[in-house]
Symmetry: C2
């Protein structure tokens, strides 16, 4: 016997009236509602969300597809999504999706399509046209974070513009030997983040007439990655750059540690900029471009919720830029030997 039927019987009303009283939909007299609520409280009634989902077609659950949970950017995004979703009364179901195709197919067909979720937020993962179509066919809103996905709305910073801006900043300080330590072009996630950031650096260098070979070194996207790469790049004083644009703050911090290790003063002998706004950036005095991933998560949720509104019509699928904050700390200055006030 369904639990709500127990409540109904106890309150002396029909199942339908009990449902209306508890859900607040439809006409129920004040007094009847009170009786039903009292009966429900009396037997500790807890509605079954499963049954409710089956009847209404709404799960009040959002699927989050994400490649990592233990990396800074992704865990920050996740925490932003979570903190926006729960107050709205939604559950969050987590699907870790790697690049590998089989697990991917599996997660996709086996989990996402099974009507378990009302909407999907894809973080740092590009969906194939087929995947997008099949979700669209189910009428489920999708929002992407971290890159462009055709036919759906995506939130991201402009990676090329970001690294271009940072490079220009270094150029404006007077640097002429600028190098990029960024992610491996082949190992990047589905989105071309690494390529974009490299391209931005190169654009700025070209514009300034400072292009040179040896302007890039691929390193793992982590503090140890930046450290090892930093040691390799900085150890030869004759080829050492005077400024480094790191692909992310973690790499930048690794480079700072490598510089310290080698006795290279930052920023006097080496300027370093990062991208991210990592938790540790302040402690290391890192000049960086903050991209506030948790806010990206919150905004994605807002977008999703708008689309979930019953009255939501067709919505333009746009690429939405995320504002960034340039935070100048103590890791950048004019290059050694330059007139410090040359272009300030």
């Amino acid at each position: 016997m369904s639990a709500i039927a127990d409540v109904a019987r106890l309150a002396g009303v029909s199942k339908s009236t009990a449902s209306r009283a508890l859900s607040g939909n439809g006409y129920v007299s004040r007094e009847t509602r009170a009786r039903v609520e009292h009966a429900a409280a009396g037997i500790g009634y807890v509605p079954s969300s499963i049954a409710s989902s089956l009847a209404t077609g709404l799960t009040r659950n959002v699927g989050v597809v994400i490649p990592f949970v233990n990396r800074w950017f992704f865990s920050e995004v996740l925490e932003g999504i979570e903190s926006a979703l729960i107050p709205a009364g939604y559950d969050l179901t987590l699907y870790r999706l790697h690049a590998d195709a089989v697990g991917r197919q599996r997660v996709f067909d086996y989990f996402l399509a099974r009507k378990r979720v009302d909407a999907v937020i894809a973080v740092g993962i590009s969906l194939s046209p087929h995947e997008v179509r099949s979700l669209n066919a189910l009428g489920k809103p999708i929002v992407g974070i971290g890159g462009d996905i055709p036919e759906i709305s995506t939130l991201s910073i402009d990676d090329a513009a970001a690294s271009r801006f940072l490079t220009e900043h270094l150029v404006s300080l007077g640097h002429t030997r600028i190098m990029h330590l960024g992610g491996d072009q082949h190992e990047q996630m589905d989105f071309a983040v690494h390529a974009q950031r490299l391209a931005g650096v190169r654009q700025a260098l070209a514009t300034a007439g400072l292009s040179h070979r040896d302007d890039f070194r691929a390193v793992p996207y982590s503090i140890p990655g930046g450290y090892a790469g930093g040691l390799a790049v900085l150890s030869d004083p004759s080829t050492r750059p005077t400024a480094i644009v790191a692909g992310c703050d973690e790499i930048a911090i690794g480079v700072i540690l490598a510089a310290r290790q080698l006795g290279i003063a930052v920023p006097e002998q080496l300027s370093i900029v990062g991208i991210d706004g990592h938790t540790l950036a302040e402690m290391f005095g890192l000049t960086t471009l903050e991209q506030h991933p948790s806010i990206q998560g919150e905004r994605a949720v807002k977008l999703i919720l708008e689309r979930l509104e019953p009255r939501a019509g067709a919505i333009a699928n746009e690429r939405i830029g995320i504002p960034v904050d340039f935070v100048v700390r103590r890791s950048t200055t004019a290059p050694p030997g330059a007139d410090r006030f040359a272009r300030s």
Copy 2:
């Protein structure tokens, strides 16, 4: 019309036969099964997990209650849980649960109790007896990670033993001025992790006859926390300890950075040990006790899955210890001035 009914009609069988054919339960002839499968593939049939859950009472979904997703220990545990749960065919629904009582009550009543999950894994959160009882009443297995919860099985390292062991290690190296930089005793999570770790240090000091006031300083559980605490503790050479037991690796790394900042050589002038096995420990040459949080997550899942087996009987609710690995790196040695081989 239910989707499976379409499949059935297309295959020329009844709904029940179609269900049996697709789920593999009950008797279906080889040939009928093939017809049904073909029909299902033809119309792209995807079963509704909601309907299935309602009928069977099983959601194939596990709720994970966790206070943070963007801190190292927790994100590692989460990733361990995820990677064990998905291959077993379960979804993972994430509930972030803070210490604050209202949000807590809300998450608990509103989400967990609603029959959305088959089981619960609580990470770093102690549940009140009332909460445990209400989950038990629903017949849902619960496993805790990170501390002791009465009446349910919990997985954790022995925090007191861990810090006692590390302190004994420093004592055996000849250190006599040993200090603990750990978490604030008031701000700790529900589990008394901070208190346990402090207690372990004090036990070892007492046993060695090295007790002293000023044996502890509370710092935030983070690299910046350890850094700031390290600067404060190390800046006065006259009171400076020769060895520090950090409450976690992040604090230890912060202390290492503070020591570098102050020109104190590690390990020659200062030995430092941590607890965790943090990703960055190796890079900083940190001697630490690894606790493998992702393995804790995997083991919790294994426990949960055992309890979810239909034939699972009453299971002892035990406190399960997690093995730790002591990894000696370059942050510990004998104290300055001591005969290095005194007690090796």
